[in-house]
Amino acid sequence: MGSGELLTPILMGVMLGGLYALSALGLSMVFGVMRLINLAHGDLVVLASYASYAVMTLLGINPILGLLITVPFMFILGILIQKYLMSKAVTIGTEAPLIIAFGLSLVIQNANQIMWSPQSRGINTVYSQASFHLFGRQLPMIYLLDFLGGIVVMLLLHGFLKWTYMGRAISATAQDTRASKLMGINTKRIYYWAFGIAMISAAVAGTFLGMTFPFTPTSGTTFLTIAFGTVIIGGLGSMLGTFLGGIILGLVQTLSAHFFGANTQMLTVYLIILIILAFRPQGLFGR
């Protein structure tokens, strides 16, 4: 096997990683701002996959265009979850919101089960069969869209966090909640925003993941693990770290499929996450 053979899985891994980074961003933001480990994050990503599936099958709208519907839907859902489920809980400690998130995860899984049956679904679009050429390799078009979708949304979020008062206030609250309150920031409102924005990342990630892989009501566990892994590898609080973490996980997955067969790819991902947790718990790029 020549080294040229590796180019395909490497390119695919990098492109997939851009999307993984985006899905991890939501998990990282909610943890960074509220110290809340959102165990329901993966299920919310799947919920977004189903939402896009519904937009496509029921309304006949291209799911990428359909983001105009799914993104606001998930954003509002995120604010409602924060307002009515988490708001009180985050003020009294870390356990209560963790358990609420776990409960939410079960509810979403079962609701999806009832609405969509356990049967596997896929968002099949014109891109699903299309391909493009890069460095003389023929690659699935959807992976390019994954990467572009991930990058574009991450850059938009980066700009929002850096250049707007609201965005800066979110960063400030993540860095020092007490000081944020003393600056006159309404931290409760920041929490709504943080959860809402996390759900924007989940909406885009869920839509593209649904176009890339088949999904079932229980796929959330896999998505949560990938998001966790990305955050663990990248370290918390750095968008660049998250981006690199996503790409590393994408590469692990595609290279493992290349060398050991497709059914080992997630196992390798989990092993890598465990190994990094054991030897470098602050993450590869964490401080």
């Binding site: 008062y165 800066r168 206030a169 400030a172 860095q175 000081a179 309150k181 003393l182 600056m183 006159g184």
Partner: protein
């Protein structure tokens, strides 16, 4: 001659869960003065500032600021009304630059309108910060960080600035510099309430002071009255 009080606290009790931190505390801050709150660790100084700021709420008693009852309001409302706190330990946003820290100080609607004017004022007060505006806050020395913290407080366009333990852990020469800054802030018409453990220095700089012991105000007066007070001399000056 006395000017009118802008902040008036009457008989407040404050609890941390079941622990009572403040007992029937009353205090007044008058327009344009620099008022000090002196006391040992755990006496309740920071609790009092947090209660004024709305981070904590009293179970009984009243707090009025410019004639308006504020003891039930949230911090973001109180900061917008013109009370800002420079917290103990500075609490800068560590990953942000000096400039971004200062801009965060002007977050409230009222402060945002005066952002450019206040930024200029802070840079005049601390020329060093102008040169270092793009430096990340956590990489600065303690004294420089304290300047950023005070500057960030001024960015809120305050009527009353409350500064908690600004000299803690800083070299004496820097402490002098920061106390001089306090005088300049006061000269610009901002009322100052500051918390200190450094009694000798405080009674030299402040117009008036309150002494707080285990959650109760034990003594109050002008700085010169307190300097001459026998109990104060015994307890804090060692004579």
């Amino acid at each position: 001659m006395q000017s009118a009080p802008i902040l008036s606290i009457q008989n407040i009790d404050v609890f941390h869960d079941t622990f009572q931190a403040l007992w029937k505390v009353s205090l007044e801050v008058r327009a344009g003065e620099s008022c000090a709150l002196i006391g040992a660790n755990m006496a309740g100084k920071s609790t009092l500032l947090d209660t004024i700021n709305g981070v904590l709420h009293p179970t009984t008693g009243n707090i009025t600021f410019l004639g308006q009852e504020i003891s039930r309001l949230d911090p973001f409302e109180i900061v917008d009304m013109g009370i800002t706190q420079v917290p103990e330990g500075r609490h800068l946003f560590p990953e942000m630059t000096v400039l971004d820290n200062l801009i965060m100080g002007s977050y409230t609607p009222n402060a945002r309108r005066h952002k450019d004017k206040n930024l200029q004022r802070v840079f005049e007060l601390f020329p060093k910060l102008k040169d270092r505006q793009n430096q990340v806050a956590k990489t600065m020395s303690g004294g420089e960080q304290q300047m950023v913290a005070v500057g960030r407080g001024l960015m809120a366009n305050p009527t009353l600035i409350m500064i908690d333990e600004m000299s803690l852990g800083l070299a004496p020469i820097i402490v002098d510099e920061i106390f001089r800054t306090l005088q300049k802030i006061k000269a610009q018409g901002v009322t100052v309430l500051f918390v200190e453990q450094n009694v000798v220095k405080t009674l030299k700089e402040a117009d008036r002071a309150y002494i707080i012991e285990t959650g109760r105000i034990s003594l109050t007066g002008t700085a010169s009255e307190l300097r001459d007070n026998e109990d104060v001399r015994k307890a804090y000056f060692g004579i």
